[in-house]
């Protein structure tokens, strides 16, 4: 155990960023998330793993109230970010989503120029006072998305004209442009080739310095590669949550063991 953690990069802070208590989610009659309690740390990549339909994406979507858009979905319990209940009626979901960015499975750039894709969020949130400031935000975000060098000479080109991996990095740049504190990623690499995947994974590791990153992935190898903490969901339950090194060498729960070793569980 000691040796395993020694290999991980030092995590600067163990401060809790997101704290979820007794979270339950119902879709109509179906109970999708059952009493989940979890503390997600700042400056840490947390991976959610589990078989299809286990609730990991549903839970991820609770963290920026994306489930609000689904009529039959009911979320109960308490989710706090920096000690603030995000389901408080006074919280504006639009502001919340600026603070909690999200990247989806399929790259989904707006049918606009590369520049406008990134500038969209800062514009609607009024983060830039003038064009120079906006230019600066766009460049900074594209650099963070590790795509600046590839697109700096064609910022006016449509974002949809980029390759899949580039589009996904553009979406990450777009997500970080509003200076979020938490970045949620739902299967961000499943539509990408291995090289683009490696680039995104490298990027995730860098993003950890500035954000709390939560990633849902079906690739257990990816969870093992990029995360420091891993949560295993099964049938709506959070079965096990712990250090990634521990989960992949010596999980406590037999269900986790069955899942990560590829046994029927």
């Amino acid at each position: 155990m000691n040796q395993i953690t020694a290999l991980d990069k030092t995590v600067q802070t163990n401060k809790t960023k997101i704290s979820a208590r007794n979270v339950n989610v119902h879709y109509g009659d179906s109970h999708a998330i059952k009493d989940v309690n979890v503390e997600i740390e700042d400056n840490t990549v947390t991976a959610f793993i589990g078989p299809s339909g286990c609730g990991k994406s549903t839970f991820l979507r609770c963290l920026n109230r994306m489930n609000d858009t689904i009529d039959i979905c009911r979320v109960t319990g308490d989710i706090q970010i920096d000690g603030e209940n995000i389901y408080d009626p006074r919280v504006d979901p639009v502001q919340l989503r600026a603070k909690v960015g999200m990247v989806f499975q399929k790259p989904n750039p707006f049918p606009k120029s590369i520049y406008d894709n990134v500038a969209y969020g800062p514009r609607i949130h009024g983060l830039a006072a003038n064009k120079a400031e906006l230019d600066e935000i766009v460049e900074k975000s594209l650099r963070r998305g590790a795509i600046w060098e590839e697109v700096k000479d064609r910022l006016d080109a449509p974002g949809t004209g980029l390759s899949g991996g580039q589009q996904q990095r553009l979406c990450i740049a777009r997500a970080v442009a509003t200076e979020p504190e938490v970045l949620l990623m739902d299967e961000p690499c499943s539509a990408l080739d291995p090289i683009a995947t490696a680039q995104i994974e490298e990027l995730i590791d860098e993003l950890r310095n500035s954000y709390s990153v939560v990633i849902v992935t079906h690739s257990m190898q990816q969870a093992a590669r990029v995360s420091q903490k891993t949560a295993f969901f099964h049938l709506g339950n959070l079965v096990e949550f712990g250090a990634t090194g521990q989960i992949f060498t010596n999980p406590e729960d037999p269900r986790t063991e069955s899942y990560i070793t590829g046994r029927i569980g």
Partner: protein, 236 residues
């Protein structure tokens, strides 16, 4: 371990690799016993056979390591599967070393067969080898049955082997002091005793791997050490 992998070929790979370990274990057990018997009965032919057999043990180790590397590359094992592969690689290394020690004993037996015999020590060496062989048998059984209790028992028994070695060390020292003509055979016998004691250490390491494989953690207590010969003062 009751559950099967969804990919059944993975199960077959792991079973095959463990079967190789057991085969290797059987050869090594035989090598220990044959080496001890050859020493006691001054049987040069049997000693020669032990030396030849070691090639098969070495070959199996190589095969197991290749298989383990293949499983790691193709299956990316995790959790208990990962621990199984890691333990298999270490255990095959331990068995290979034990085989080498048996071979070395056989080599020295060839030399000893032409000199004067040191009866008392030969019998003590036979008992020590017998104990190590039993420890190995139990160690391998604990591995196949995933029996932590038995593995812990094997770990504890290394103390007895160490004590047998201490006694032999002193005995051989006495013989050498009594008559300088004893020095050559007693030096060989001492190396044989030391080799057997080292075999015990490797068996202990195998048993520790069993504990790690099953529990995911190294055995808690420090290994019991009773080999005190490195601190025996010089006598003038």
């Amino acid at each position: 371990m009751v559950e099967q992998h969804i990919a059944s070929a993975f199960d077959r790979d792991l079973e095959a690799i463990q079967a190789q370990i057991m085969k290797m274990g059987g050869l090594v057990e035989a090598a220990i016993m044959d080496a001890a018997r050859a020493l006691e009965t001054r049987d040069e032919e049997l000693a020669q056979q032990v030396r030849k057999q070691d090639a098969a043990i070495d070959g199996l180790e190589e095969l197991i390591n290749e298989e383990a590397a293949r499983v790691i590359a193709l299956r990316a094992p995790a959790a208990v599967d990962l621990r199984l592969i890691l333990s298999v690689m270490k255990i095959s290394g331990n068995l290979e070393r034990i085989g080498d020690y048996a071979k070395n004993i056989a080599k020295r037996t060839t030399v000893l067969a032409h000199g004067p015999s040191v009866e008392e020590s030969a019998a003590a060496l036979r008992r020590m080898a017998r104990e190590v062989e039993l420890m190995l048998k139990d160690g391998l059984d604990s591995y196949i049955q995933r029996d932590v209790e038995l593995a812990q028992d094997v770990i504890n028994r290394d103390r007895d082997v160490d004590q047998m070695y201490n006694a032999l060390f002193r005995e051989l020292l006495t013989f050498m002091m009594e008559d300088p003509r004893n020095i050559t055979p007693c030096m060989h016998l001492h190396f044989i005793a030391k080799n057997t004691e080292r075999m015990g250490d490797h068996v202990t390491s195998i048993a520790e791997q069993v504990v790690y494989l099953v529990t995911g953690e190294k055995p808690e207590e420090d290994r019991q050490k009773a080999d005190t010969t490195s601190t025996v003062p010089q006598e003038g």
